[in-house]
């Protein structure tokens, strides 16, 4: 009895010592890496934002100027969508939407859509998707330059009815074997433009108002559902 009790105590002690050592190791490596990880993430965000917006077009702290927009119909998700606002000499220059194309072949497709103040697309990139490799994944810039076809387009060019893939009578090409994926992306970019068209002033006002205040997705919904 006493023997098994001693065994049990030894087991508890061994696990406790190992657990403390493990926690110590993790806390040390966290200390070493946390700051670098944070910097990496911020750099990565900025790098991807620069893919859809020429850095010479703005002069503010882009990553730091964010608001949240809620519009399930136009922005493709019931969640708040992150919007980065670029200004130049204090004037609105462009906005970058982390929009969602909800009707991909394999679920939602995450996009970055850069629109300048005149409503012209500066760039579109796909940040995350689960489309079929070899077919739908041509929306990735690493695989094909299809998304660059949006550059320079706006709601008037092409006219709204032609904001569709060629198969639907629109101006945008689809890929061989995959129509659903490009269709979803084209619709999402178009809807983002429509949203931006209707909310541009409000977005920039909110960003200016929230300059010193922490942005909070709860309190800044544009269109409460």
């Amino acid at each position: 009895m006493a023997d098994s009790e001693r065994q049990g105590l030894r087991a508890i002690l061994a696990v406790a010592v190992i657990a403390v050592c493990a926690a110590g190791l993790i806390s040390v490596s966290h200390r070493i890496s946390a700051e670098r990880i944070e910097r990496n993430v911020a750099e990565r965000i900025l790098r991807s934002l620069h893919e859809v917006l020429d850095p010479s077009l703005y002069d503010n702290d882009l990553v730091g100027t964010q608001v949240w927009a809620i519009d399930p119909d136009l922005l493709g998700t019931t969640d708040p969508v992150q919007v980065f606002l670029a200004t130049r000499n204090g004037e609105p220059a462009a906005a970058i939407f982390a929009a969602v194309a909800p009707r991909g072949y394999n679920g939602a497709i995450n996009l970055l859509v850069g629109v300048d103040a005149a409503g012209v697309i500066q760039g579109v990139r796909v940040t995350d998707h689960r489309e079929t490799p070899g077919l739908g994944d041509q929306i990735e810039i690493a695989i094909s330059d299809w998304v660059t076809g949006f550059d320079g387009t706006s709601l008037s060019d092409p006219p709204l009815p032609q904001w569709a893939v060629a198969a639907d009578g629109g101006r945008f090409d689809a890929f061989t074997g995959a129509t659903v994926t490009p269709r979803a992306v084209v619709q999402a970019v178009r809807d983002t433009l429509v949203y931006f068209n209707g909310h541009q002033a409000e977005l920039f006002e909110r960003a200016a108002a929230a300059e010193d205040v922490e942005t909070n997705p709860e309190s800044s919904g544009a269109n409460p559902p």
């Binding site: 065994q7 030894r10 087991a11 061994a14 696990v15 190992i18 657990a19 050592c21 493990a22 926690a23 190791l25 993790i26 490596s29 966290h30 070493i32 890496s33 946390a34 670098r36 990880i37 990496n40 990565r44 079929t132 490799p133 070899g134 077919l135």
Partner: protein, 232 residues
């Protein structure tokens, strides 16, 4: 007792220990352990290589640590202790990769934390590291890790060639931006199936069959007797 046995075969021991982990008991091809990351990550050679390196580092570290504390191990909670050690070391590798190889981390993403679930590592801790000196344990970890990495590289290379018609793409994630765009582009567009999950199973099956073929051919050689004598 294991010390004495270790000393007796000290010279041939290291070589045979290595051959055991790398070839005879290859984690992926013979023991079929760690199949989850093996199948999931091997869409390119570089992905396979990166996960192979990470797994090897973790294996050497966990085997060494387990071997060092084997005297204090309590049998009833040993598995718990192994898992604690493995999990904390993998978490460390995860954070350091995120901090210092950020682009690579984005590719391997989920699979570095999943190294924790690689049964090879637990099997090594249980059957080798907790019973042998640290040098033996570390060498076994190295051999097993390299064997696993070789399997990942071969399967990744095979699937990349057949599936995408490229080889070594993504080298910039491992070796820096200078190598972006430097890869073999074969005059062939690739067969999608090899990149999709079924391709992983087919590729693994082909490689296991090839390994068995070579292993069998070796057995019919005269050297077979030697092998038989070592392992009666």
């Amino acid at each position: 007792m294991s010390e004495a046995a270790g000393n007796n075969t000290a010279m041939s021991g290291a070589g045979s220990l290595f051959a055991d982990g790398f070839w005879r008991n290859n984690a992926a091809f013979v023991q079929l352990l760690g199949i989850c990351p093996l199948l999931a990550i091997t869409t390119t050679l570089v992905n396979g290589l990166a996960l192979g390196i990470a797994t090897t580092l973790v294996l050497i570290a966990t085997n060494s640590v387990v071997s060092l504390i084997r005297g204090a191990l309590v049998p009833s909670v040993r598995i718990l202790i192994f898992v604690l050690i493995i999990a904390s070391l993998v978490t460390t590798v995860d954070m350091l990769t995120n901090a210092f190889f950020h682009d690579l981390y984005r590719v391997l993403g989920l699979f570095i934390p999943l190294i924790i679930t690689n049964c090879t590592i637990l099997a090594q801790a249980e059957s080798v590291a907790s019973r042998h000196r640290i040098d033996h344990a570390a060498l076994s970890g190295l051999a097993t890790g390299l064997g696993f990495a070789a399997a990942l590289v071969m399967l990744g290379g095979l699937r990349e060639i057949v599936g995408s018609g490229t080889l070594f793409s993504g080298m910039e994630f491992l070796l820096g931006e200078a190598l972006r765009g430097v890869y073999l582009n074969l005059p062939y567009d690739g067969m999608l199936a090899a990149i999709l999950p079924p391709g992983a199973f087919f590729g693994l099956a082909i490689l296991i069959a090839a390994r068995n073929y070579f292993a069998d051919r070796k057995k019919t050689n005269p050297s077979r007797r030697e092998e038989a004598a070592v392992r009666p």
